[in-house]
């Protein structure tokens, strides 16, 4: 029986089922009747993926160690220093445990934006065109949909689907992702959109596109972008660093201006991430951004010593230690 009547009947039946599923899921959108099936998938495959991730992790680490060898040395040094610093902090914190709780709260809001996070690990990545990953925390750890996911460097994405032990993260580079965002220092707002799987567009250097809503607003290469914060702090909490402007496109339609953004996060090698389970009480503004890099070989226009209304947000010159203009003034 090579290609009998029965084979064709079965083929037809399976194709009809597949098409019906596509139709139902497509029409249903976010709350389609078939989401129970996905829940089943998360329940069945989630634990298996977790187990397999723990097996393949050493292999991946070896692979990474080979490719990243030059950078790793520097990173190890930095970690060593950081570790030392943290150890000292820990020691001083233990000295006065009474005050450490208050201090921690204070530091939390003032210093790092005060996000309450839940650490997680990436265990698998999506197939086809979507740019999604699975992380190893789920509803049992209190994760809900539309929570912000960040790493130590910046914004990663948001939770779209939650299983018992795993959840799915839509990365910021996905083409369906759009994030309300804000230019550093100025209050100019815009939308950051992904440019496709792993930032395929732009040769991988600029996988994000930032559209400034006000076409006349100043924007410069090197300016950094943070999240604006969504209504009710979901899906995106405010103040998470996204990336820095790499290239600005000439305005073509005059309504918006487009800039291409290099993200702070390396999306090809995501590993440890954090889910923001409680947003900060106040908008941290730019407090979470890494320290501004030194301006390279500043051709300082020292002719104008007094800071007269230059719209530039770049630190000009290095006469005084605090040259960064604050937006409020």
């Amino acid at each position: 029986m090579k290609d009998t009547r029965r084979t064709r009947v079965v083929l037809g039946a399976l194709l009809v089922v597949a098409l019906a599923m596509i139709t139902i899921d497509y029409r249903g959108g976010a709350d389609s009747p078939l989401r129970g099936l996905r829940g089943l998938g998360a329940t069945v495959f989630g634990p298996v993926e977790r187990a397999s991730a723990s097996v393949v992790r050493p292999v991946g680490d070896t692979f990474d160690a080979i490719t990243d060898a030059p950078g790793e040395r520097r990173r190890a040094d930095r970690m060593l220093r950081q570790n030392q610093k943290l150890r000292e902090q820990l020691r001083s914190a233990q000295l006065d445990q009474d005050r450490s709780a208050q201090l921690h709260r204070l530091l939390g809001t003032a210093g790092m934006g005060g996000y309450k996070i839940h650490a997680a690990q990436v265990i698998s990545a999506g197939q086809g065109f979507e740019d999604t990953v699975t992380i190893d925390v789920g509803s049992r750890s209190g994760i809900k949909t539309d929570m912000t996911v960040m790493s130590a460097d910046g914004l990663v994405g948001r939770i779209t689907r939650v299983g018992p032990a795993t959840s799915t993260v839509l990365l910021a580079t996905d083409q369906t992702s759009s994030i309300g965002s804000r230019l550093e220092a100025s209050k100019e707002i815009g939308i950051t959109q992904g440019r496709g799987r792993r930032g395929l567009g732009g040769g991988g250097a600029t996988p994000l596109r930032f559209q400034l809503l006000d076409a006349a607003a100043p924007i410069q290469v090197g300016q950094r972008i943070v999240t604006l914060g969504s209504q009710g702090q979901r899906p995106y909490v405010p103040g998470v660093p996204i990336g820095s402007v790499e290239r600005i496109e000439k305005a073509t339609n005059g309504l918006t201006r487009t800039a291409y953004v290099r993200p702070f996060v390396k999306f090809t090698s995501l590993d440890v991430v954090a889910v923001v389970v409680a947003p900060p009480k106040t908008d941290p503004r730019d407090a979470v951004l890494p320290p501004k890099p030194k301006p390279p070989a500043t051709p300082t226009p020292t002719a104008s010593p007094s800071a007269t209304g230059s719209p530039s947000a770049k630190p000009r010159g290095s006469k005084s230690p605090s040259t960064r203009p604050s937006p409020g003034d």
Binding site: M1, L14, M21, L40, F45, E49, F63, E130, T168, Q175
Partner: protein
């Protein structure tokens, strides 16, 4: 050999299911995380479906393809419309099963069949995305991704095909006691394709 081949249809089904499950897990937790140039990864599940269809015929091919596709649609990081992979893999499984009946003469044909299956599957999947108006499956993305993915698929195909044949060989031996000494994958296709689809 750990255990002697048992009742062959049930055993075959189990082996096929295990092969698909393992491939799927490897796909999402290993292959999709490889930092390959272009941000594209080989589709191991598609290759496994093609290999199984070439070995076992159109009936097994399409049922395996449908179930593997359904699993690929619901495995956690997936975020596309449910049923797309089920449709694509089912069709590819059927076509490769039908093709396996005609290609038992030339030894190079199976490799072309795998490549053609990979190409057809990738294009078909992109096509369903375009029909549904998926913003991810824009022409710019698809046109740069598809050739690269087919290339990776072809590179990965000998390994996947070898592994699939290795896994299914035990049951083949149980059925065919004639003892074929052909260990080349192409020859194995030839040896097995005559059996057709007996699910």
């Amino acid at each position: 050999m750990l255990n002697p081949p048992e009742a062959s249809p049930a055993g075959r089904t189990v082996v096929t299911a295990v092969v698909i499950a393992v491939t799927l897990i490897l796909q999402v937790s290993v292959a999709n995380r490889l930092p390959l140039p272009g941000g594209v990864q080989p589709d191991l599940v598609l290759l496994a479906v093609v290999a199984l269809a070439l070995v076992a015929g159109s009936m097994t091919g399409m049922v395996t393809g449908f179930l593997a596709g359904l699993a690929a649609d619901i495995i956690p990081p997936s975020d596309h419309t449910l049923g797309r992979y089920a449709l694509v893999y089912c069709l590819i499984g059927y076509l490769c099963g039908v093709a396996s009946a005609e290609m038992d003469r030339q030894s190079a044909v199976p490799f072309f069949a795998v490549a053609a299956g990979a190409l057809a599957g990738t294009v078909l999947y992109a096509g369903t995305g375009m029909i549904l108006g998926d913003p991810r499956a824009e022409w710019g993305t698809v046109s740069s991704m598809v050739p690269l993915q087919v290339l990776y698929d072809v590179i990965a195909s000998p390994f996947v095909v070898w592994a699939v044949l290795r896994a299914t060989r035990r049951y083949e031996r149980g059925e065919r006691s004639r003892g074929d000494r052909l260990s080349v994958p192409a020859a194995r296709y030839r040896a097995m394709s005559g059996r057709g689809g007996n699910l």
